[in-house]
């Protein structure tokens, strides 16, 4: 076995000089002695991870369990983790007591249209940044990147004024239309990185065949960008499915509400009806988790690159 260690690693070690001979002699003994501790270590790691997973999931289980409790039984003590009886009807009641189908339809409209608009315009801009040269390109790209850091709250007020002038308050337009103008800076960034990494052979061949820039974008580059587009699609869908503040600001009557706004509606004159609220919460959460488990790779990549997790 090669015992050579690069100088950098020695630096990283930052410790006493190597004792190569000793290390070589000792190899077998050491690996034997490591077997037992390694197993014990795995047990400890399992225990810790199990505990972390339990603490992570307990609230979610509580959500599901509460969603199945009869009215008035939500606070029963000790906690009934498996409610008896399990009131599956809560889900139906939750859908019926508020205009859940309307909220769902509105959410789907917003999510679908922003997805289409975002994917089209973001990928086009990304392809432009990746594959053409023009004066000011790098400045504009930096400008776009820096707008990533802009707090949403800062543009919210003047945007509200703008949409008010346009007469778009209490319509879905303020949620949808901006997506057709480049999606989000982050999508452009992500797709641009992807396009830059593509080998140019196929595009060059298409160019020789006389295809123009936009044709090559649509027929050659886009079909190759499947994984990157899937990542962007998931980010876009998640964002619009979860978004609360923009709908809160722009949508005033219930016929225009999205799902996120509807979660506050379950209450009688005294208190929040937690069983129905939790049933509604479960119905909002399950599609997200389903997308996660179905498209884990793209999902994780999206969160990894964007850093959107948890917010």
């Amino acid at each position: 076995m090669d015992t050579h260690v690069s100088p950098e690693v020695k630096n990283l070690q930052g410790q006493r000089p190597l004792m190569q001979d000793h290390a070589a002699d000792d190899t077998t003994a050491r690996s034997r002695s490591l077997v037992v501790p390694r197993k014990r270590r795995a047990v400890v790691v399992h225990l810790i991870l199990f505990a972390v997973a339990a603490v992570s999931l307990l609230p979610l289980l509580y959500m599901v369990s509460t969603s199945l409790k009869a009215r008035g039984r939500e606070f029963a003590y000790p906690i009934e983790w498996i409610p008896n009886p399990a009131v599956w009807r809560n889900y139906l009641t939750a859908v019926e007591t508020v205009e859940a189908m309307t909220f769902f339809a509105n959410t789907m409209i917003v999510t679908t249209l922003t997805l289409v608009g975002g994917i089209l315009t973001a990928s086009l801009a990304a392809y432009g940044f990746a594959r053409t040269r023009f004066p000011g390109r790098d400045f504009l790209f930096m400008l776009m990147l820096s707008s990533l850091m802009l707090p949403y709250m800062v543009t919210l007020i003047p945007q509200f004024v703008l949409f008010r002038e346009l007469g778009w308050i209490n319509t879905l337009y303020p949620l949808i239309v901006p997506a057709f103008f480049g999606g989000a800076p982050f999508y452009i960034f992500l797709l641009r990185q992807f396009f830059r990494g593509l080998p140019t052979d196929l595009e060059d061949a298409a160019k020789l065949d006389g295809a123009g820039f936009f044709r090559i974008w649509w027929t050659v580059a886009m079909p190759l960008a499947g994984p990157a587009l899937a990542t962007v699609a998931i980010l876009s869908i998640l964002h619009h499915w979860n978004d609360f503040i923009a709908p809160l600001v722009y949508l005033h009557t219930r016929d225009n509400w999205t799902l996120a706004l509807g979660i506050r509606l379950f209450r009688d004159q005294y208190q929040v009806l937690f069983n129905l609220t939790m049933a509604y919460a479960v119905m909002m959460t399950v599609p997200v988790f389903t997308v996660f488990f179905a498209f884990q790779k793209y999902f994780v990549r999206g969160i990894t690159i964007s850093g959107m997790g948890g917010r």
């Binding site: 076995m1 260690v5 690693v9 990283l12 290390a23 000792d26 795995a42 810790i48 991870l49 972390v52 997973a53 603490v55 992570s56 999931l57 609230p59 979610l60 509580y62 606070f75 000790p78 906690i79 392809y127 940044f129 053409t132 040269r133 023009f134 004066p135 390109r137 790098d138 707008s147 850091m149 707090p151 949403y152 709250m153 800062v154 543009t155 919210l156 007020i157 945007q159 004024v161 703008l162 480049g182 452009i188 936009f214 974008w217 503040i245 809160l248 979660i263 929040v272 937690f274 939790m278 919460a281 959460t285 997200v288 988790f289 994780v300 969160i303 990894t304 850093g307 948890g310 917010r311």
Partner: protein, 312 residues
């Protein structure tokens, strides 16, 4: 990386000096980025300029904006609620973000040992961070019930009497921080990606030196992970400073003003009381704070973030 591409672009090339082919390429490029650029002007740059102008105005939306000079600024300096919101947001951020990152890093390191079942653990631990924020807000609102919620049941196991949590001036901020920390999965996933980028050969080499797991962690993993830690820190601070939805849904800034945050204060002034001028000023203050924090982080980064051989 982006900076490097400057080398490709011909320095100060004007349209006239271009070959027809190059001009064609430039036009294609401009057309391709046009939708984004228009959107940037209409929905970002324009509104920013407009809201800067609004900070000098008083405007309740019904009558036209009225120029009031520095009145909003003067009010800001005396606004006790602003000070409270700034302080609360600050506390929320500087406690929740490091706590979240510490736990995320610890769990990511354990997951990176690749013991059996790692994939399952990772997926399950990741789930809280992907729970829609309105769902998690209502869920925690229930958990922190002052009567018999899960939180009181939990501390009851240790013989601690029931608490009023979100209705307790002293506990409301820790409760909100706990909710944020619960969703550490996003940062954890980012740490895992960073850990997988560390070349295995370094560990193998260290093994040959007989390095202990702890010294490998300290001398290889942590230094090579500093760019990821930095990324998480920047993203985390920007996000935490803007916290809105959980506070809006659960506490409304209360009890009293003990959980009033900048995001909620801006919303209140802008969309409940329609003080558009003052709300714009608050939003600009928030923006400047976020930018300043980010710049400070970037300048401190030179001292502790390790960029491998400064590759690019």
């Amino acid at each position: 990386m982006a900076v490097q591409t400057i080398g490709h672009a011909p320095a100060s090339s004007s349209h006239k000096g271009m070959s027809p082919l190059r001009r064609r390429e430039a036009i294609n490029g401009y057309v391709a980025i046009l939708p984004w650029f228009l959107g940037f002007l209409i929905f970002t740059a324009g509104p920013m300029v407009y809201s800067a102008w609004l900070t000098f105005n008083s405007w309740e939306l019904i009558t036209p904006p009225r120029w009031v000079g520095l009145a909003n600024f003067r009010f800001l300096l005396e606004d006790q609620l602003f000070r409270t919101a700034l302080w609360n947001t600050f506390i929320y951020t500087v406690v929740s973000v490091p706590l979240q990152l510490l736990i995320a890093l610890g769990v990511a390191l354990l997951l990176n040992l690749n013991i059996r079942g790692t994939n399952l653990y990772r997926s399950l631990i990741f789930l809280p961070s992907q729970t829609p924020v309105v769902a998690s807000a209502m869920l925690w609102f229930f958990i922190f019930s002052p009567t018999q919620g899960l939180a009181n049941a939990g501390i009851g196991l240790f013989g601690i009497p029931p608490q009023r949590w979100l209705w307790d001036v002293n506990l409301v901020k820790p409760a909100l921080i706990a909710i944020a920390v619960w969703a550490f999965g996003g940062a954890m996933i980012i740490f895992l990606a960073g850990l997988q980028d560390i070349p295995q050969s370094l560990y193998e080499a260290a093994d040959l030196d007989g390095a202990t797991p702890f010294s490998k962690l300290l001398n290889i993993t942590v230094p090579l992970l500093t760019p990821t830690i930095f990324f998480n820190l920047v993203i985390g601070l920007i996000g935490a400073f803007q916290v809105f939805t959980p506070v809006y849904l659960m506490t409304g800034g209360g009890p009293g003003t003990s959980s009033m945050m900048m995001g909620l204060l801006i919303y209140r002034h802008g969309f409940e009381e329609f003080n558009m001028g003052y709300a714009s000023l608050l939003a600009w203050v928030l923006f400047l704070i976020v930018i300043t924090l980010t710049i400070i982080q970037f300048s401190l980064a030179r001292r502790w973030v390790y960029y491998e051989g400064d590759r690019d």
